[in-house]
Symmetry: C2
Subunit: 192 residues, 2 copies
């Protein structure tokens, strides 16, 4: 249940056995069935979730009821509404499970105590957020500067596992397109 988390942690910041034991005490396992919410817009985000198994999406919903996916999460990734988590403000995103999932939750108090007590946890956090920043910057660059086909190609090349596991209309949402448009872009590409 904790395997992937510590695999990931150790790959970034090697831990002693004692440190692992301390950290483990702050983690709360949670299982989520497909379509269940981890977080609903308007609630305060109480935790950061490490994904041991499964797939989730974070998204906002506009006036017309359309979902706009801001982030996918699969094994070894973290998912959260970080702004709500850190400030205690109501969440602007929803998070739910695309597949049955197994998570490790880090609550606000756990997060704060870990930052205090385990210096390596701060390093781990810094590395995670840095990685997330860089990949989001890539995504943004691609959106503002690349033609559609290239954007899809890039995405598919960067996240082949997501393209396989997730329905196309969600990919379209993630790219800021309608499902119809993405379908047509793919047809064009296939014809080549």
């Amino acid at each position: 249940m904790y395997d992937l988390f510590f695999l990931d942690f150790n790959s970034k910041v090697p831990l002693t056995q004692e440190e692992e034991t301390v950290i483990k005490q702050y983690l709360t396992p949670k299982k989520l069935r497909k379509k269940q919410y981890l977080l609903q817009e308007g609630d305060v985000c109480k935790s950061i979730a490490f994904i041991e198994k499964g797939a989730l999406k974070a998204y906002s919903v506009d006036d017309k009821g359309n979902e706009h996916i801001i982030q996918f999460g699969v094994e070894r990734w973290l998912i959260s509404d970080l702004y709500s988590f850190l400030t205690g403000e109501p969440a602007t995103y929803n998070i739910d499970a695309i597949e049955d999932s197994e998570l490790l939750l880090i609550s606000k108090t756990a997060h704060e105590e870990l930052l205090q007590k385990v210096p390596k946890y701060e390093t781990y956090t810094r590395m995670n957020i840095t990685g997330a920043f860089i990949s989001m910057q890539r995504r943004l660059t691609s959106i503002i500067s690349s033609p559609l086909e290239e954007r899809y190609t890039n995405f598919a090349a960067s996240y082949p596992n997501i393209v396989q596991r997730v329905p196309q209309h969600m990919i379209a949402s993630y790219m800021g397109l309608t499902p119809e448009t993405l379908s047509r872009v793919r047809q064009k590409m296939i014809r080549k």
Copy 2:
């Protein structure tokens, strides 16, 4: 010359006098004239820059020679090609000065030694990157989910100083639009 930097640092993580002295030794002041490069695509990004004065932009250039601005930076902000800085890979962004600017540079070795020697520097870094992540996430959400007018309104409300200081065609670039389109969007809004 160092005032803003330590003002910002102390507001996030209070420092002792000794710590300030240590950190100061790792900072290199640099002045940049309008239009001068801090970084050119293809070069390795050698530093993170804290902006004491002025304004800069980070951008990529596409096949047709169009600039796509990924980030603006003004006083109290950091600017860099973080991926290049951290990995040593060639930069994919250019960074240059929109106005005459004064910077404090943190080199790679300075960054690494500071992370080692001054725990508060790691905290400061973590807070900075977290803030950058959250605002970029907002920007991305706005791009994939809001109509154009709203996006411009949001941007202008969030960064009034940038709207004032920076030519409109750069704002358009930042929003992923042509200057003509942004001009028309603004006309529509004014008429209301």
